[in-house]
């Protein structure tokens, strides 16, 4: 457990907390980008280079920008009158705390049972390519279909409806 892990974990969790607690939506979007960056660095620390770079490229380069565009197109810059938290916020917080308690307990109880592999796995992009075209070709094709459907669907859903001529 080295210092780098603690720093990165603190960065990611701070980003996550800031996302949930800040009032202005654009600040929340930027804070979630910090959380994404912290997670990408955690992936790099776990020797998953391809996943780390894909995280930066997809989440920071596309999803964060998508969120920001949606905030701007729906006038999210104006703060609502009744505050940003809903009236039942205590119940939500309690549920989240309960979920964390259960997960944390499960992790601490059972982690000794999992065999620990501590040697660094050497993964080249070549291996990933082979795996994608060999063992995981079916999920790859299905994800391709899914992405096509999602693209077409998002365009249709967000398109301006044609004005009906009276």
């Amino acid at each position: 457990m080295n210092a780098v892990f603690y720093i990165l974990a603190a960065l990611t969790l701070a980003g996550g907390l800031a996302t949930v607690l800040l009032k202005h939506l654009v600040h929340c979007a930027l804070a979630v980008t910090v959380a994404f960056a912290g997670l990408a660095l955690l992936f790099l620390q776990l020797d998953a280079q391809f996943a780390g770079f894909a995280q930066i490229l997809v989440y920071i380069g596309a999803v964060a920008i998508l969120i920001v565009f949606a905030i701007l197109l729906t006038r999210g810059s104006e703060l609502p009158k009744g505050g940003v938290f809903s009236s039942t916020w205590l119940v939500g917080l309690a549920i989240a705390a309960g979920v964390f308690a259960v997960l944390g307990w499960a992790v601490l109880q059972s982690v000794r049972a999992v065999p620990q592999q501590n040697a660094v796995p050497v993964v080249t992009v070549h291996d990933i390519g082979n795996a994608l075209m060999g063992r995981y070709v079916l999920p790859l094709e299905i994800v391709a279909l899914l992405l096509t459907a999602a693209t077409i669907g998002a365009v249709i859903v967000a398109m301006h409806e044609k004005e009906r001529q009276p």
Binding site: L17, A48, Y59, G76, S87, R112, V123
Partner: protein, 107 residues
């Protein structure tokens, strides 16, 4: 704070905490876009879990964990796109993104 028994426990706890934070965000905020941001945080926490288990598990050369995480990233991006498209479409209809006010199907 008790010292963590193994590095794996540390990563899993971070992932669990991030998941809980994302869940709290999705459940307590009023704006529809914040709910989607909370969902993205939850998906990211799950990805961290997958990669941590891949790294510290028995067969990292099978690449299962990393593949799962990469597909999860792709699917999450698609879902964010469709979700935000829906939010924009609803905003055009009802001129608001607050979840309390989008209740025309109530009762």
């Amino acid at each position: 704070m008790t010292p963590l028994a193994t590095p794996l426990a540390g990563y899993l706890l971070v992932a669990a905490l991030l998941f809980a934070i994302g869940l709290a965000g999705a459940l307590t905020r009023r704006n529809a876009i914040m709910v989607l941001i909370g969902i993205e945080l939850m998906l990211n926490a799950a990805n961290l879990n997958l990669i941590a288990f891949w790294r510290f598990g028995p067969h990292p050369e099978a690449l299962t964990g990393m593949m799962f995480a990469i597909f999860s990233i792709a699917v999450a991006a698609a879902e964010a796109a469709v979700g935000l498209g829906l939010v924009i479409a609803i905003y055009r209809h009802t001129n608001t993104t607050e979840l309390d006010k989008i209740n025309r199907m109530k009762g």
